[in-house]
Symmetry: D2
Subunit: 328 residues, 4 copies
Amino acid sequence: SEMIYRVKRCLACLAVENCSVSVSRSMASKTQVGFIGLGNMGNPMAKNLIKHGYPVIASDVFPESCKELQELGAQILDTPADVADKADRIITMLPSSPNVMDVYTGPNGILKKVKKGSLLIDSSTIDPAVSKEMAIAAEKMGAVFMDAPVSGGVGAATSGKLTFMVGGAEEEFTAAKELLSCMGANVVYCGQVGTGQAAKICNNMLLAIGMIGTAETMNLGISRLGLDPKLLAKILNMSSGRCWSSDTYNPVPGVMEGVPSVNNYQGGFATTLMTKDLGLAQNTATNTKTPVILGSVAHQIYRMMCARGYANKDFSSVFQFLREEEGQ
Amino acid sequence: SEMIYRVKRCLACLAVENCSVSVSRSMASKTQVGFIGLGNMGNPMAKNLIKHGYPVIASDVFPESCKELQELGAQILDTPADVADKADRIITMLPSSPNVMDVYTGPNGILKKVKKGSLLIDSSTIDPAVSKEMAIAAEKMGAVFMDAPVSGGVGAATSGKLTFMVGGAEEEFTAAKELLSCMGANVVYCGQVGTGQAAKICNNMLLAIGMIGTAETMNLGISRLGLDPKLLAKILNMSSGRCWSSDTYNPVPGVMEGVPSVNNYQGGFATTLMTKDLGLAQNTATNTKTPVILGSVAHQIYRMMCARGYANKDFSSVFQFLREEEGQ
Amino acid sequence: SEMIYRVKRCLACLAVENCSVSVSRSMASKTQVGFIGLGNMGNPMAKNLIKHGYPVIASDVFPESCKELQELGAQILDTPADVADKADRIITMLPSSPNVMDVYTGPNGILKKVKKGSLLIDSSTIDPAVSKEMAIAAEKMGAVFMDAPVSGGVGAATSGKLTFMVGGAEEEFTAAKELLSCMGANVVYCGQVGTGQAAKICNNMLLAIGMIGTAETMNLGISRLGLDPKLLAKILNMSSGRCWSSDTYNPVPGVMEGVPSVNNYQGGFATTLMTKDLGLAQNTATNTKTPVILGSVAHQIYRMMCARGYANKDFSSVFQFLREEEGQ
Amino acid sequence: SEMIYRVKRCLACLAVENCSVSVSRSMASKTQVGFIGLGNMGNPMAKNLIKHGYPVIASDVFPESCKELQELGAQILDTPADVADKADRIITMLPSSPNVMDVYTGPNGILKKVKKGSLLIDSSTIDPAVSKEMAIAAEKMGAVFMDAPVSGGVGAATSGKLTFMVGGAEEEFTAAKELLSCMGANVVYCGQVGTGQAAKICNNMLLAIGMIGTAETMNLGISRLGLDPKLLAKILNMSSGRCWSSDTYNPVPGVMEGVPSVNNYQGGFATTLMTKDLGLAQNTATNTKTPVILGSVAHQIYRMMCARGYANKDFSSVFQFLREEEGQ
């Protein structure tokens, strides 16, 4: 089925490239694409653009991050403004809201030299309110801004199987999808600017709740009530307790293969990054006056884990955090 | 596929009946089976025993609960002790721990007249510690006690598609499964006495956490961030936020068909029952010194809902509880 | 002792006025003071300035809010900029961060016409980060900004017994205290800009936790465990459970006189305002990566209360919210 | 004032002894008093009885616990039954519910040989439901059972300044108070049997909430917002955030003298004991269907602390637990 999948992906790519012929902006296909932010995620994403035949013009605050891409033929420029001067389609992949604001609206930012009609796609995970601000600032310069955060991690970025959740003007979605499809298996249109971030934040909040819930439940059942871990997982997965954290990414070492829990919680999605996303969810909920009770407590639990040495372990290590033996 | 399913069920029943020939206690097959507790769940369960050809001897504290079964040919007796005097296989289905203690060890309880070698199966959802007590008391009288709580609700009880989670001596499991297979689609052996309850409690705690998490997430995404409900559910279900509450029992009216949320949260699994199960999980966690943070908060949220008029609505009504508009 | 208190207040005022002679900016004493924001709190505060002999120049977005003060002799101007053009000491008392940003840095804001050397005191309760931004913006114009949020409510504002928590340059504190002492009984210097807000936010977060804790405890003790409410309050208050919410502002009707709980939770400090302050605490904690577990849950509980009709009741109504009888 | 206090205590003792002359059971004054449970608390309590002139007959499961008391003239017997055979007033001070059940109703328990009319006072902190069971069992034997848990710790037990919260028949309170006044500064009548435990549980739940709230608040204010610890404590204590944990037992090292936080959280009230009391509160709340949201979360926080090496530190160490620096 992996082969079938790959064939489907190929067809999908072809389909995108074919249909792009009929779309105005996509006439620019195979012309240069800008890429700002070559970190753990941005690097493999930009490589996938090159693999699909796009000439890439890139920039990063750390010059050494650019070497690998340069060797693959990418042109490296000093600032986001320089990139915007040359490319009319730019993808940004940055750690947090302040970086995004700087790269777009800073003194050497994209908007200093952006061309009219440019398509700017931000794949960072940030506050939806900041996405909206960037969109307004871009519009003033005659450019189009879309938010397109991803789910899937470094592995999916490398294999080109990310999921993109895209917010912005619907008429620009086809053009955005053309580029994003080179880097992801799913490109989902979510609505107006900011809704991509909203979907991402919502998913990760529910993910965190499900993971902590799974860890608490497995700990209660196996450490204390004498159930076999695999048996308990099996029962949950055939019942209403089933969730992604129980059936796909089980936090208990030994229950499943190929997940961080069997590798001492190395790799995967770091607790500190989950905590950042829960902070965004919390700020968004507070600003919109929405009660998110379990979301808040999940945020605080991951916050405590960061304070106690789990910051760089996979977020499923909450099982380890909870199961330590009670003193005395 | 429903037909295929039914055929498989039939084969399963045949298999059970055939193999029962080779098991000692199952020689008693088609002899009388006792049934104590003919409430919403017990009534359809007992009927399914009759459908499978078992003569049933039943008892309930409310005589009127017995009428329907009597018309189907069941013999009705006054007390659990009377039933134990006649049947050496008895199933009990009762609301809570005190009822179970009374039915087994009370002045007219099963153990007053239980026959040596009897098989006593309790399908109530109660504290695992009480199950263990009952097992010890039964053993003193030369009888075998197993806990076998169910998941699946009145619908599954009626259609004979319950899941039974069974705890007790492994060598008795075949005999128990013979009877339980008449009432359920899945009969899972969990381990020693009490582990059936443990599995049930664990599943329902994770279920409650997932449901509240789903309700919070959907509310944040649709009421406040402008996402379309069906789109958000679709995104969650193809991502790591996926859980039974998001993909099978979505709490937002209109996202799915055939769930309580489209029927004003009527039917389904009442908030008050979920609250009871969370109370069991909480007591168990406290008594075993296990941290269950989200489990505790979920318990308290359902507790508050009971206090505010949601006791008899389906437990997915937590979405309604959260989404009321903020005053001013 | 009330009389002694009043005498002490008088002496305090004299002291302030006397010592002000020796401080440079205070030479301006009895010259005009600007006041922006004449709401429930700002109105009585400005009146107290007039009572102490200060000519007041005021402005508010709602002209009708200014009438009463105008009759007392205050000069009313159209915009904050107009006020800044005439007065070099200005106090602002506004509902939330966006209002503060608009009044200081908006197109008709104070900073458009502020005089060099002006003292700007903001008594609003807002995000400390916004206070710092305003201070930087003021400094660029050669003015001094201090944050000085209050505790005490409308009653204390009217009687001139507010507590001011002041953040800003220490050498400006004497000048600020001169004005603030006309409106408050306590003026506490907290440290650099933003620390006044920090102290206010911290106090109110602990207050919310104590109030909910008191309500839960009283409800558990009296509704369920059969303790007399006054007796339980007495025991708590002579023991380690004692807190301001148990001994000064008890949320159970009938335990104390003169508190909102005996007046159907009318008056006092509205749930919606407490929720706003908890939102500030939450945002601050998230932005500074501080775990505030009970603070988060308290926030969410008040958020839920706002959604369920308690927005305008006193925040001690959490007792009523919790104690509703459980349905079956 | 300490001297004044001691004089008042003396007068109080005299008053109790004088008035005892007029009360029937108290005619037994200065006759033997039984004491079961000579642990950290029971030992100094029994000594105070001896100091006040009561001959003590004691028993403990660990014979070595009895040595010190024996040297002071107490008679040591093997079992609670033996003590009940000789003394008609008995005080019990035991770790938990199962110990109390064993000491009263076990095979060598008090009730095996209790004399009609005996007064049995249990100062253990246990489930109020167990207290009620013991009272019923005692009544069947013609004896009177009262629950009288204490607050105050080992220091107060040694100095005779405990607070006793007493539940039971009101007409027996005078007799109980005669004995308890030798060991405590406050003896408060709470109502029927079990209400002493209820008051104790309520107080400690609110105490835990206040302590965690204070720790979170101080941590937010000082570690992150730059407030001076002593200044923040001062502001809270003059404002509505004030509570016992902020003004009498501050958890931040250096803010106050003579509290465990200045002694690396040694001594005081161990986290594991607070966790036990919160477990009782949780069980009681669950069994009475009372929502205790912050109470639940506080319970879970202390549960986690026990799992992470804080079990034997003072419960104010929650400040240390929260303030660890965030990784990365």
